[in-house]
Symmetry: D2
Subunit: 291 residues, 4 copies
């Protein structure tokens, strides 16, 4: 298939490459000059001069940073208007429920197909093509886009026909993962001040009641108090928690855990941890414990 | 070995039976008349008339409800005073760090050995002898008590020589598990109000980013909004969160997650959910979302 | 002076009337047909057909609902572009720090003067021309606008030359007032469940440690559990708390009190209290206490 | 009248002196050697060798630090048992609702009269005999104790016949005052990071929407970031917030504001502010804002 790919950031670059390596013809564009990782890819990935060049394709994948980038590129730069009727737009970044709904409306008006398919997985997972894809949209469109999902992910979950529900599952899932960081940070601060080895605590917990990689990975980072390099930058974490709070406001659901994370992420920014891994929430918790 | 066992509640009863079935001679006592589950056990479990009868043993296991019960039975009823010098006291309930430290002091004075060995696992796990045991104390004493741990658990973690650290690991671990409930309750309320099937959300999450039984078990309960019968009663959950807050105060570590849980557990009590499973926190979160 | 006045809502209508009655020639406009209260005013208040008619004046006062209304009317409808160089723009609504900064920039480019002058006071205060005005901007402009402030307020506080600081003082002050509601709601729920008369509690507190009208007014409302008619609607209260959270994010200051209020305001909306007085936060707190 | 007075701390000493100066015969006792302020008082204040000497009086006033001190002195040292039937016990310290209820029961059994009469006011107010007294108990007993209240306070509020309600009003009132500190700390951190003079903010707020001394006094302290000497020590503030949380648990009322204060007070202790004024909560908030 011919695939357009817009957004070649830390996640987008390896994704575009995986799709090209799977045998598809990829025409890709980035707002700034695309970095390495694209240049050295298979012959069938070509860089476009303008985003509109990415519109004449079977599937247009967008992996833009946030709502604002979507608005700028898809709407103001006219990509959406340039899409052929048959082109399926597959939005794979984590954007707001409201923006996904707005895209639903715009695609309905052009009578085109739209799939939201955000992904779970940090940088390590995208490099290994081991993402989890959460897709929602018209079932034919979702099926049509399956080769794209297979190229980047280990598993695809289809959560219905309304694209914004895929955004919401991603946002709610990210809230759960962020909460793991906050919860671990508190438990580990307690363990540390009591004089016990925090690594040992993480081992016990992940070998007993909470045997999930998130607990091992983040627990080890917080135990080490070492938050560079970032697998997922703290300032992006704040963006995602704000998406959760916005969804909570839209559906009228108070999310005190998201509020707590919001406050701790702001504190982390204020204390200079914005560029580190978002598990640097652990430093805010540690500072409050006098550590 | 000859094992004394004090405290035949929902956890204690099956534990005492497991130990007896493993071939040890068990002499057990409960504050109130012991219920079924003890009576129908192997010949080598005998019910004592007084707690002091349980003192002339190789190992005394206590599984009493809380600090107050420990104080009443071990101290006021004179069990501790009646212990032979060689008897190892193994405290397996979830009690406060402060009480465990106090017991450390009392045993040091009698020059006897003391192990704290609280367990992770709900009622289902104790029945299947699949508990996780977290033990701390003098290494010879811990080794001596290993047959008891093996009789009730699937794995034993030794977390050092200071018994109160075992209490702390249990308390911190329970805080993490309780946080899973709160976090899920919020995410599921959001999913539900957006019109998506909450069971499907739980499936996606536990098959992708958070593949741990706690997320499946509690996620399913909250999705079902069915909190009876209780695997772990909400009012006992409040006791455990209060132990976390007390430990936070002792070691000067603020625990905002514990504070949030405390507030939601109190609300659950106020709304009549005290006797249900502690995942009924989900009802407090649902009510705040107008569900 | 000739005064333009845009925004004739619950606050704007009586303000425009006060200014007209003080002897100024007022030309006023509203996005929807202006309601009563304007029609029956002194001869020197005239309703404009278009917002641009309000631009040829000595002072343009805007009292628009929120950032979006400002953007729509001042920017998209061209009012700002139509302003004469000498006209002073006085923004009196509660808007975001970011929007006030943006207006600062736009006025700087047109080399015109701009004052932010939001007001404290509920509906009762505006009717009695007893508002507190918090003004910031070029000192000559602030002085020039003094007659407007005197017409609507009992006192004007000048907080510097940067208009956005006036917005911030208003936002921070509103946060303090909202916090009074939350705090009282909790204390009163406690008093009520203990079986004591909540009115008596409010009397004691306001006659001793906290003798401020906010405590009497909101304390009495919460004691009465009667939140209609609204002096300040709950859904507007959420708007204001969101302005506080946005300011907290801009200046990197975590505001846990604002987060708590945000969560309780969302719960109040979810439970159907959006159109009531914002002290209906008391009902969320009461429900959590099983009242 | 003959007045026994137990508890000569920072509050008790000046209170005992005021009572003596009002013409009553005072026999006073302290757990440790009473400091200055008692020694140099009027001839009619005498120091007892044992607490029991304070029992043969018309009114016994207790001003002990906390529940534990009450238990130790009144119960274990036998003061309560030594009281004559006609002696009225007036408890004036801030103690738990549970302990006040327990004292109600003990006095009922001895058929003696008991008044709880905690006071509002920091050290400055006690020196000036300007406390606010909140009294509850049998109306004859309250009236009988009026001369004591008049000697130390500027006003007495009678809140009913159940002594524990006076404790609760004090606890709930203290929660409101502590909340003022937290709320101000957040607002001031925001103002400070925006580059505005925090003193000016406090002036505006207290001259407009929140004209109460608590806002001026604590606002000025937080603006100054100077928390010594303490008017009310932070570690005692934690004690009082814990009393609020205990009352919330007893009456099943979640108190998220108290939980937030609890967490910030623990952080303040961990960061070394325990001996400073409790408005040093401002430092925790400032640190979280990177100040």
């Amino acid at each position: 298939m011919k695939i357009g790919f817009i957004g070649l950031g830390a996640m987008g670059r390896p994704m575009a490459n995986h799709i090209a390596r799977a045998g598809h013809e990829v025409i890709a564009w980035n707002r700034t000059r695309a970095g390495d990782g694209v240049d050295d890819c298979a012959a069938n990935l070509r860089l476009a001069e303008t985003p509109a060049e990415c519109a004449e394709v079977d599937i247009l994948v967008t992996m833009l940073a946030d709502d604002r980038a979507i608005e700028e590129v898809l709407l103001h730069k006219g990509v959406l208007a340039a899409l052929a009727p048959a082109t399926v737009h597959v939005e794979m970044a984590t954007i707001s429920v409201a923006m996904t709904k707005r895209l639903e409306g715009l695609h309905a008006r052009r009578q085109g197909m739209f799939v939201a398919a955000p992904v779970f997985g940090r940088v390590e997972a995208v490099v290994a093509a081991k993402l989890f894809v959460v897709a929602a949209g018209d079932s034919r469109a979702v099926q049509y886009a399956a080769p794209v999902f297979d190229a980047v992910g280990q598993k695809t979950f289809v959560v219905g026909s309304k694209p914004h529900l895929a955004s919401l599952v991603k946002i709610a899932g990210n809230l759960l993962v962020a909460a793991v960081i906050e919860n671990l940070a508190e438990a580990i601060a307690l363990i540390r001040k009591a004089g016990m080895d925090p690594y040992h605590f993480v081992e016990v917990i992940t070998a007993s009641v909470l045997p999930a990689p998130a607990y091992s990975v983040y627990g080890t980072r917080i135990a080490a108090r070492d938050y560079t390099p970032a697998s997922f930058k703290l300032q992006l974490g704040l963006k995602d928690i704000n998406l959760a709070l916005a969804a909570g406001e839209e559906f009228e659901v108070p999310l005190p855990t998201a509020s707590l994370l919001h406050d701790h992420l702001i504190a982390a920014l204020a204390q200079g941890h914005g560029g580190k891994d978002w598990s640097a929430i652990g430093e805010v918790v540690a500072a409050n414990a006098g550590l």
